[in-house]
Symmetry: C2
Subunit: 258 residues, 2 copies
């Protein structure tokens, strides 16, 4: 069996999220359908994690066990991209070592959340960024967000529904910046793992604190409560992008170009 | 009669272009439908010019004669944006002087053309930029494009079908740049007017010359031929954005906020 690693990007707008669900349009479902055609038999894939309905990806990672060796396997990526719908693309494909696992070997993830910050909504970013009409103070948002960096119990920011061993996660980076020339603002967060809807719950809380003059203390109180009821709104999925998934260098070094 | 000037942005993907056509989804049709609801009677609009099916706008301008004075007219823009489909937005609205005319008073237009320049197509830019897999040399493109600047007869770059008095146009700016952090490249062109599909014909020709080692001389030969057959491919509409329409300062100064 040969293990193949894929780097994927998708526009999540038309999908019920990453995970395969019978009778629903999902990214994983579309990917497995395309692989099934290429290998002429069912192929199961494993993603680095789920993404919600409407969430986009610039760097989702998945793997699968190739049921047979293909002639001209280096063309696998091209074959996949011609079979996949236009809103899903395979950016890279590698032959991965046997011990690679897209979900269990993932060490860090980076998400970005985009906001269209203008009194007037955007016709072109409507499915790619959350519209926030009130002017946002980036310096304040950055100040509050520093309270996320480090190891914390993120139980207050977890939407229940998925069993996890621990709700403790470590965040290395959480910062806001304006994107040039537009009304776009981007929040970038990098950590060793994220609970269900954690980024969307965090962004909702940060926006709430910014608007209501809250700061590091209020954020700490929400952490300490370990209670989802204390955190604020969950922002919509359409502003969220899975940006990058990182694996141990030892595994990366064993991946070979197809 | 009060003349209202509107600044519009739209995602042209789902539309048969700007111009109203019976039974077809067009930007102007959607705008007039919304205005008809607000004024409770048919309202005709005039745009700065047509945009092709699939072409986007960041700064289209239109005007209309308001058939009556509305109470709370300053809320017109908000009313329009709540009635318009999500892929069309009114960015600004003014009370314009009687002698303002969106089409006849326009003095300059700026278009941008976006290209996704990567061996792999983009899931997120698929309807917003042309995919060009071969690496483009921006320095060369900029060099060739300098030949567009100035007054020229653009007959070779005109798609026939619209009667015009003259095919001479003056171009003030024509330059390429890479957009940061992505595989996006943007061509910006500003001039006193553009013939039918002129920008798409120009971009197609510039890309052809870049790929085939042509330069200023080949471009001049195409100009001199005054023959559409000599210019190269028309690039697709989905990479094109009407970016800005400029009017004489004397008219701009007489526009008042609603």
């Amino acid at each position: 069996m040969r293990k193949i690693k894929l780097l994927l990007s998708y526009d999540g707008s038309g999908y019920q999220g990453w995970q395969r669900q019978p009778g629903k349009a999902t990214i994983q479902g579309a990917l497995e359908e395309a692989l099934g055609k290429i290998y002429a038999q069912p192929v199961k894939t494993v993603g680095s994690g789920r993404t919600d309905a409407g969430t986009h990806a610039l760097g989702q990672v998945a793997h699968f066990e190739a049921p047979k060796t293909l002639k001209g396997e280096e063309r696998l990526m091209r074959a996949l991209n011609s079979l996949l719908p236009e809103n899903i693309v395979v950016k890279k494909a590698w032959l991965a070592p046997e011990d690679f696992h897209a979900l269990f070997a993932a060490r860090r993830k980076t998400y970005i959340y985009r906001i269209w910050n203008s009194p007037v909504r955007s016709a072109l970013w409507r499915e790619r960024a959350l519209w926030v009409p009130q002017p946002l103070n980036l310096a304040r948002l950055n100040e509050i967000s520093q309270g996320l960096v480090g190891e914390h119990d993120f139980k207050s920011f977890q939407t229940t529904g998925t069993a996890v061993k621990t709700t403790i996660r470590s965040i290395e980076e959480a910062r806001w910046k304006a994107l040039s020339g537009e009304h776009l603002i981007e929040f970038r967060i990098r950590g060793n793992g994220f609970l269900k809807q954690m980024v969307r719950n965090l962004v909702g809380t940060l926006l709430h604190l910014e608007r209501n003059g809250g700061g590091a203390e209020e954020l700490k109180a929400i952490f300490d409560a370990r209670d989802r009821q204390k955190a604020k709104t969950t922002v919509p999925a359409h502003g969220l992008y899975l940006y990058r998934v990182e694996y141990p260098p030892a595994l990366d070094n064993k991946c070979r170009k197809l």
